[in-house]
């Protein structure tokens, strides 16, 4: 059974007052709150086991190395991949940059890169830079006016353009819409397209089995999955991964160095230069263990129930436009009220202790596509309850009264 009140008690940050009101945290798409287990793992590391990894012969270093490598195995198991297919980065953004940099020599001016208009800037700009560097053509998958994909159109597009690379989000950070990946990735595979899926938003909510998903690369950020800041990951199918050119160079990733020549290690080490974010890796494995302990189905069912309840309540308010696909969503509600500026709504909601985001959500092309300057975004996670929704809706109605 899924007891949301018991779960909320695991998240100390949820138990606070904002502007003298109980915090209603609806900004999990920006970053999630952290369970006590993650905070404790971090503290435990710094207060006891703190040491650098891989190079020390002493007990602390051996312990840190063991915990560090076990964490990689834990996270790899979560995604159903092998540990040497997982590269630690500082975030989803770096993971994408690692891939776009690593592909430079594999692309040329005959190549085609396909992204979508739904992407976060992190999954747009690095590809633009790669296209510029290599002369490759950058195209965007057809997206319907409402911000949803028509699968058939996408498949046709892929068959027509036979892209060298396809980079696409697993779920939109602005809308929460889940991409119909299965068919799209299948079509791409038939064209021998290299595929990268941006899982920054989806990984927490959908807990994907990456081997089954069948993409070549998948990226995520720990801080959006109950984990610490400053850590992300790149999954790469081993051969694909190892075929990428080295990215950052320095300690840890080298085999031998002389003043004239250097040889590199194999993946994943080859992409992990410098002292890693040891504390974060260890704390993130605590986050994943916590998540796994809650049971995937229960988490998903609860999240969908909360989301549907919020949709239902929001739709009752006159003047609200919802941009999200409410039937196929990780739990993110993107909306505006009449032509009020989302900035004003978010600022006023904060007075009621309700934390939402406003703006373009680092998805300017999507906003242009939808013909809006921005929106309000309320994003839910499994630790939200029905009361959060009630408080949010009540506060929104008060804000509207202030504005009207």
């Amino acid at each position: 059974m899924f007891d949301v009140e018991k779960i909320r008690a695991d998240f100390p940050a949820l138990k606070q007052l904002i502007n003298e009101q109980p915090l209603v945290y609806l900004d999990s798409a920006a970053t999630t709150q952290k369970p006590q287990a993650v905070i404790a793992a971090t503290e435990q590391f710094y207060a006891r086991n703190n040491a650098n990894v891989h190079r020390g012969r002493h007990t602390l270093s051996e312990q840190a190395t063991l915990a560090y490598e076990q964490a990689r195995a834990t996270v790899a198991a979560f995604f159903n991949i092998t540990a040497n297919e997982l590269v630690w980065t500082k975030g989803a953004t770096e993971a994408i940059n690692l891939v776009t940099n690593g592909l430079s020599e594999q692309l040329d001016n005959q190549s085609t890169i396909v992204i979508s208009a739904l992407e976060h800037h992190a999954n747009i700009v690095p590809w633009q830079q790669l296209a510029k560097r290599t002369g490759a053509t950058l195209l965007t998958l057809p997206l319907q006016q409402n911000g949803r994909f028509n699968v058939e159109q996408c498949v046709n597009f892929i068959e027509q353009h036979k892209p060298t690379v396809l980079a696409i989000t697993h779920a939109s950070n602005a809308l929460g819409n889940i991409t119909p990946l299965e068919t799209i990735l299948h079509a791409a595979k038939l064209q021998h397209t290299i595929t990268l899926v941006d899982g920054a938003q989806a990984a927490l909510h959908l807990q994907p089995n990456l081997q089954q998903l069948g993409c070549d690369f998948y990226v995520f950020s720990a801080h959006k999955m109950l984990g610490p800041t400053g850590l992300g990951g790149l999954y790469g199918r081993y051969e694909r991964l190892n075929s990428l050119a080295v990215y950052q160079t320095g300690g840890e990733m080298i085999e031998t160095v002389t003043l004239t020549e250097t040889t590199f290690r194999q993946a994943p080490a080859k992409f992990e230069s410098g002292t890693p974010n040891i504390a974060a890796v260890i704390a993130f494995s605590a986050a994943i263990k916590y998540l796994v302990s809650l049971d995937k189905t229960n988490v998903y069912t609860h999240e969908q129930a909360i989301f549907n309840y919020a949709v239902e309540k929001l739709q009752l308010i006159d003047g609200i436009t919802i941009y999200s696909d409410i039937n196929n969503n990780i739990g993110t509600l993107c909306f505006n009220y009449k032509d009020e500026h989302p900035f004003d709504i978010a600022t006023l909601l904060d007075g009621y202790g309700v934390a939402v985001r406003s703006g373009h959500h680092c998805a300017q092309p999507l906003m242009q596509h939808l013909g809006i300057n921005g929106s309000v975004r309320a994003s839910f996670a499994f630790y939200n309850n029905h009361k959060d929704v009630d408080l949010f809706i009540a506060a929104l109605q008060e804000c509207i009264a202030l504005l009207d």
Binding site: L348, L402, L403
Partner: protein, 138 residues
């Protein structure tokens, strides 16, 4: 009718609840004279803001005073702009330098709007005003 900063401060300080404070601010925004379209150039747009904020600064050589015009597409920022304008418009560079917007916003309980977060252009606006004043007072 444009209120003086004193009048503004009085009504905001005496707002019985934060809602009333915001109501006042948004009202001030509404009363701000519209910014002429020709002044809304790219260079007048404060970069990196979530809301659109335009600031046009000029200097009246005869009067030795700053001339400030501004606008925003959000109600709250526009209201905050109106407060900054009321604070600085028509002052000499020396007076501007002596006028500490941080302290005034703090007194009005609006200090969070001057945070370094780049969500609104108020902080940038104050900085631009101060830096123009510094240039002119040399």
């Amino acid at each position: 009718m444009i209120k003086t900063f004193k009048e503004i401060a009085f009504s905001i300080e005496n707002a019985p609840a934060w809602q009333q404070k915001y109501r006042e601010i948004m009202l001030l925004g509404k009363q701000l004279p519209p910014m002429p379209g020709v002044l809304k150039t790219d260079s007048a747009l404060v970069p990196g803001c979530e809301s659109k904020v335009w600031i046009y600064l000029d200097f009246d050589l005869e009067e030795n005073t700053l001339v400030i015009v501004g606008d925003s597409d959000t109600r709250i920022v526009k209201g905050l702009l109106a407060i900054v304008l009321a604070l600085y418009n028509g002052l000499t560079p020396e007076q501007v330098i002596k006028t500490d917007a941080l302290a005034e916003f703090s007194r009005l309980g609006l200090i969070q709007h001057l945070s370094p977060s780049r969500g609104n252009g108020i902080k940038a606006m104050v900085e631009r005003i101060q830096s123009m004043a510094a240039d002119r007072s040399l």
